[in-house]
């Protein structure tokens, strides 16, 4: 297992998991979401190719009501 920080919370995932699989497990693959891994934006098309390393920081953002 690997430890990954998702939006500030520590979570465990299987070794070798891709970003696409991680998002699928979290249920956050909908339209209008964008993802950064260790401070770098990962385009939606690259999600299946990016393998998440132990200790990675994943940020998942979406639009909400705001000023």
């Amino acid at each position: 297992m690997i430890e990954v920080e998702v939006n500030g919370d520590e979570r465990e995932f299987a070794d070798g998991i891709t970003l696409a699989e991680l998002l699928d497990q979290l249920g956050t693959t909908q339209r209008g979401v964008a993802v950064a891994v260790d401070g770098q934006v990962v385009a939606r098309g690259a999600w299946p190719e990016v393998v998440i390393a132990d200790g990675a920081k994943v940020q998942i953002l979406t639009a909400v009501q705001g000023g």
Binding site: A34, G66, G67
Partner: protein, 257 residues
């Protein structure tokens, strides 16, 4: 009539024409139905959204609403404290929402929510170089406004007063200094409390007004949205018409004999 005037006098930001000079922020509305009625009544064609963690409640509803109403999205970087944070948030917004327009805001602290000038300018330079259309929220500082325009911002957005205060335009002279030397559209952003504030912004030469809670937290948001639409149109017309100079002594409007 006001609508006919607006048709001939569009706001142009980065080559994109907007018939409405009122930009609305979606924060503060009690629910989406209230927001929808206010947006429609305001006539706005450009509306801000914030970027937040995807597990936050109420994520997608506002996007669907804005797409349904055909309103252009203006994501912001609200909540960011540094240039690096704002740049990453802008890049995520571009990826999530498929727009390179960004309302850049970097706040110095929670109590004032005033713009952090150095981080804002640094982020603006980085984002312009990265191909963004940057609308920069800034203090009512005429020098910083010039620097942001020189950095390539598509619009510069000075505050009238701190966010959410409804204190109106605290330094009208500074706003007029900014508009008098502007090379890009100037949008009065933050501090608007009521319709006269929005009209004053336009009379001072601003090209548009951005407001949220003045409408969304009014007792009757829909009616206040109407008031703001008229205020912005009225202030714009007054600016174009050219006001009479202010005088110390009375001057009779009819001949003495």
């Amino acid at each position: 009539m006001a609508d006919q005037v607006n048709m001939a006098d569009p706001l142009v930001i980065a080559g994109h024409k907007l018939q409405s000079r009122l930009i609305i922020g979606t924060g503060g509305a009690s629910n989406l139905a209230v927001l929808e009625r206010a947006l429609v009544e305001s006539g706005t064609e450009l509306t801000t959204v914030a970027m937040r963690r995807a597990d936050t409640e109420g994520g997608s509803g506002v996007l669907e609403l804005l797409r349904r109403l055909g309103i252009r999205l203006l994501p912001n970087t609200a909540g960011c404290r540094s240039a690096a944070e704002a740049v990453l948030t802008a890049q995520l917004a571009r990826e999530a929402l498929e727009t390179d327009w960004i309302k850049l805001e970097v706040h110095a602290d929670d109590r004032t929510l005033l713009p952090e000038p150095f981080e804002t300018l640094e982020a603006a330079e980085t984002l312009v170089a990265d191909g963004f259309t940057v609308l920069a929220y800034t203090n009512d500082d005429p020098v910083l406004a010039l620097r942001l325009a020189e950095a390539g911002c598509a619009a510069v957005m000075p505050l009238g007063a701190p966010i959410g205060t409804g204190l109106g335009i605290r330094n009208p002279h500074n706003i007029e200094l900014i508009t008098s030397r502007a090379s890009v559209p100037i949008v009065l952003d933050a501090g608007i409390g009521t319709a006269s504030d929005a009209a004053l912004a336009m009379e001072l030469g601003c090209d548009a007004v951005l407001l949220s809670t003045a409408v969304t937290r009014a007792q009757d948001p829909e009616r206040m949205a109407t008031a703001m639409r008229h205020a912005v149109a009225g202030g714009r017309l007054a600016r174009l018409a050219g006001r009479i100079p202010q005088r110390f002594w009375a001057q009779a409007s009819s001949p003495p004999r």
